[in-house]
């Protein structure tokens, strides 16, 4: 008797559990066509990257603020916000797409292969003409596939070399480096103080960025002006060899292939590193670290082989819109027009020390001393390739480039070049 009651309870509980599992956490707003239910109420799912350094300044808050303002202005449109940290961003988004759980709006990295697969709306389809023409045109080519622009720049940044003035003083270095040889010599002097001379992140978070900065220094790059792949050019291999030399001399942190930018930036903020390539986003990290005063660090153009670079890596994070449900197109357009307003762009840039992506926002910030030098470099920036195969190539670079510090750089570059040629 007791046992059959127990059995009955067990069966009942199992059924309840199954039902609750089915009904809760439904397919979610990602890709679910049921979300644009009756009465014109629409739910949009938004996935963005997290630019914050901790729960206090997580980008989740920024977007949730916009979402609630937007809801106040458009009561029948709800936006669900999700942010992903950069280490996992590529992985997570790829998995989402593989699982066919498309977000409606995505901010972060732009994947040209999504355009190739017909998953995205063109930029003109989801913005009003005013908003569209306000977007920075220098990044238009990056976001174009087959003649149509799909991605919209959301925030940009230019890379410069950050160095620790206090350590330089202690090491007896009078001026910041201008050439590769300067960098090596200065790094050795800082190393003598017991600190890391040059922070070189070649781990899987952003190896493609650090590598490109060195390639540019030798006149190399990922593609030439015609859009042909030049990954395994001799200039690139030379650059890697120089970097490997620095690693062998011990003037960088040990085992750069396993170190990521986030960790090294935090170490720089703790005063443990002499030089590191950074963007304005490093500034709040330095401030949070509490160890370096504003006078203890400065930023200069990145040294190239024979002189400072006049081109820099212009990184642009983009908004792309997935074609999940044509009924949502209007709502999406309203949302994009809403969050591209100057006040939100400026709020974002001030919080994370990144650069805006609209002409009007640039104008309002051009008088700000922190931003002015970076804003000047923007028009001249070099960007990542916009070929659909780039997303695969980038993954391979992230996984393998660090090995060039201990293995033959030319072979590694040849490998990656092969993958790039296969796709295009």
């Amino acid at each position: 008797m007791k046992r059959s009651i127990a059995a009955g309870v067990a069966v009942g509980a199992a059924v309840l559990l199954a039902v609750s599992a089915c009904s809760s956490s439904k397919k979610g707003t990602g890709g679910g066509s049921a979300s644009s239910g009756g009465g014109g109420a629409v739910t949009l799912s938004f996935v963005g990257a997290d630019y914050g350094t901790g729960p206090a300044n997580s980008t989740q808050k920024y977007w949730e603020g916009i979402a609630s303002d937007f809801k106040a202005a458009n009561p029948n449109i709800t936006v669900n916000v999700q942010t992903i940290n950069w280490n996992d961003f590529d992985n997570k988004v790829k998995t989402m797409v593989q699982n066919k759980q498309y977000p409606d709006v995505m901010e972060g990295d732009y994947f040209p292969d999504y355009a190739q697969s017909g998953l995205l709306y063109s930029a003109k389809d989801v913005t009003s003409p005013n908003t569209f023409s306000n977007l920075l045109s220098v990044f238009a080519k990056l976001n174009t596939y087959n003649g149509t622009q799909y991605g919209m720049p959301f925030t940009t940044s230019a890379r410069t070399l950050f160095y620790n003035k206090k350590l330089f003083q202690q090491a007896g270095i009078s001026s910041p480096p201008q050439t590769w040889d300067d960098v090596k010599a200065d790094a050795a002097k800082v190393k003598a103080l017991g600190k890391v001379g040059f922070g070189m992140p070649l781990g899987s978070e952003e190896a493609q960025a650090e590598a490109l900065l060195w390639f540019l220094g030798n006149g190399g790059g990922y593609q030439d002006d015609n859009g042909d792949w030049t990954i395994n050019s001799s200039q690139n291999a030379e650059a890697l060899q120089f970097m490997a030399g620095m690693v062998k001399d011990g003037v960088t942190e040990p085992n750069p292939g396993t170190k990521n930018r986030t960790d090294l930036w935090k170490q720089f903020a703790q005063g443990q590193i002499g030089m590191i390539n950074g963007s304005p986003a490093l500034i709040p990290i330095i401030q949070e670290g509490g160890k370096l005063q504003a006078s203890d660090w400065a930023s200069v153009p990145i040294p190239g082989k024979s002189g400072p670079l006049d081109k820099t890596l212009g990184v642009c994070d983009n908004v792309s819109v997935f074609k999940t449900d044509t009924k949502k197109q209007d709502a999406v357009k309203k949302f994009l027009d809403f969050f591209y307003q100057d006040k939100y762009q400026v709020q974002f840039d001030k919080e994370y020390d990144l650069l805006p992506a609209t002409n009007s926002a640039i104008k309002s910030l051009s008088s700000d001393t922190t931003f002015a030098p970076f804003l000047k470099a923007l028009p001249n920036s070099v960007q990542y390739p916009n070929a659909p195969i780039w997303s695969t190539v980038k993954t391979q670079i992230q996984q393998q480039l660090g090995l060039a510090m201990t293995q033959d750089p030319q072979k590694i570059l040849d490998n990656i070049q092969q993958t790039a040629k296969k796709g295009s």
């Binding site: 781990g203 040990p254 292939g257 996984q399 090995l403």
Partner: protein
């Protein structure tokens, strides 16, 4: 014979153990033949859907081409497999996998023999001590891997702090302190973690096996004047064989398929220099889905080969009555 604790009143059971044979009608007989399905049907269905079908899908996928985000571009023939075997790192990954399995399982089983023997003895606080042994199993492998990753941090990890205090570590942030940055030392530490998390299951399996050995045998050996080592070799080990073999096989399969430890501690990097074949499969999946499926097929084949060899070598058929 069989010795159980029976809680019911047992009376003499009469000779009538079966219902008298009756001639069943056809529908009845059909129902009879099909009735096993009622009992084992759900199990077969569940296994079929969750375990067997994905195997088929996996094989199918390995012969198809995909974009990096999962779109099926059609048939690929054997290309995924040729791409896989052209990978320059494949050989070292396979070698590393063998090392991983052999060392981790070998050390685990050896230590488990000792630990099981130890925890089979009578001593105060034995139950609490046995409970401590379960900790790694309850805490999840992922968590344990993170703990070790934190403990090995070059700047402030507690293991480095300790080594610094005893003078072994010269300076923080150095290459020496960067255990997880150097592929060789990273791999050794990951094997240590793998052994650590495999010990609870193996020890308990062997402990259970030890407890089935009747104490009379030990008594008899003592009376005969056998040394402890002789007793162990001639009585314990042979009788422990079934449990040992089961634990060994399960460990081999688990360790071969192990993923969280390497993923949490090094992500298989730098490059693929700390990856085993399972981790490599996952890394490939991020951009090369077809090739990843081919790697899965290869892994799958390896597991089957290992199991078959194992069954052959241990003459499993003779063990199972």
């Amino acid at each position: 014979m069989s010795e159980t604790v029976a809680r019911t009143r047992t009376e003499e059971i009469g000779p009538r153990r079966r219902r008298p044979a009756r001639r069943l009608s056809y529908p009845r007989r059909a129902a009879r033949a099909l009735s096993p399905l009622l009992w084992i049907g759900p199990a077969i269905a569940l296994i079929g859907v969750v375990v067997l079908w994905p195997v088929y899908v996996m094989f199918k996928t390995s012969f198809q081409r995909f974009t990096a985000n999962g779109f099926n571009l059609g048939a690929a023939g054997w290309r995924n497999f040729t791409d896989l075997f052209d990978e320059p790192d494949l050989k070292s990954i396979l070698v590393r996998t063998v090392v991983w399995v052999v060392v981790v399982v070998g050390v685990t089983m050896t230590i488990s023999l000792g630990l099981a023997e130890l925890f089979n003895q009578r001593f105060p606080g034995r139950r609490a001590a046995r409970w401590a042994l379960i900790a790694p199993w309850a805490a999840s492998v992922l968590m344990t891997a993170f703990i070790f990753r934190w403990a090995l941090d070059p700047q402030y990890g507690v293991i480095n702090v300790f080594l610094h205090d005893v003078g072994v570590l010269k300076s923080f942030g150095s290459n020496q302190a960067d255990w997880l940055g150097r592929p060789d030392s990273a791999f050794v530490w990951m094997m240590v973690v793998a052994i650590f998390v495999s010990l609870p299951f193996s020890t308990y399996a062997l402990l259970a096996g030890l407890q089935t050995i009747p104490s009379e045998l030990y008594e008899a050996a003592r009376v005969d004047g056998a040394s402890p080592w002789r007793t162990y070799r001639s009585i314990t080990l042979p009788l422990l064989r079934p449990s040992f073999l089961v634990a060994l096989l399960i460990n081999v399969i688990n360790v071969f398929n192990s993923f969280p430890i390497i993923w949490a501690m090094t992500r298989g990097g730098p490059g693929y220099e700390t990856a085993t074949s399972t981790v490599f499969m996952f890394q490939l999946k991020q951009a090369f889905i077809g090739e990843s499926a081919a790697m899965s097929v290869l892994n799958f084949g390896l597991v089957i080969v290992v199991v078959l060899v194992f069954l052959k070598v241990t003459r499993w058929k003779d063990q199972v009555t």
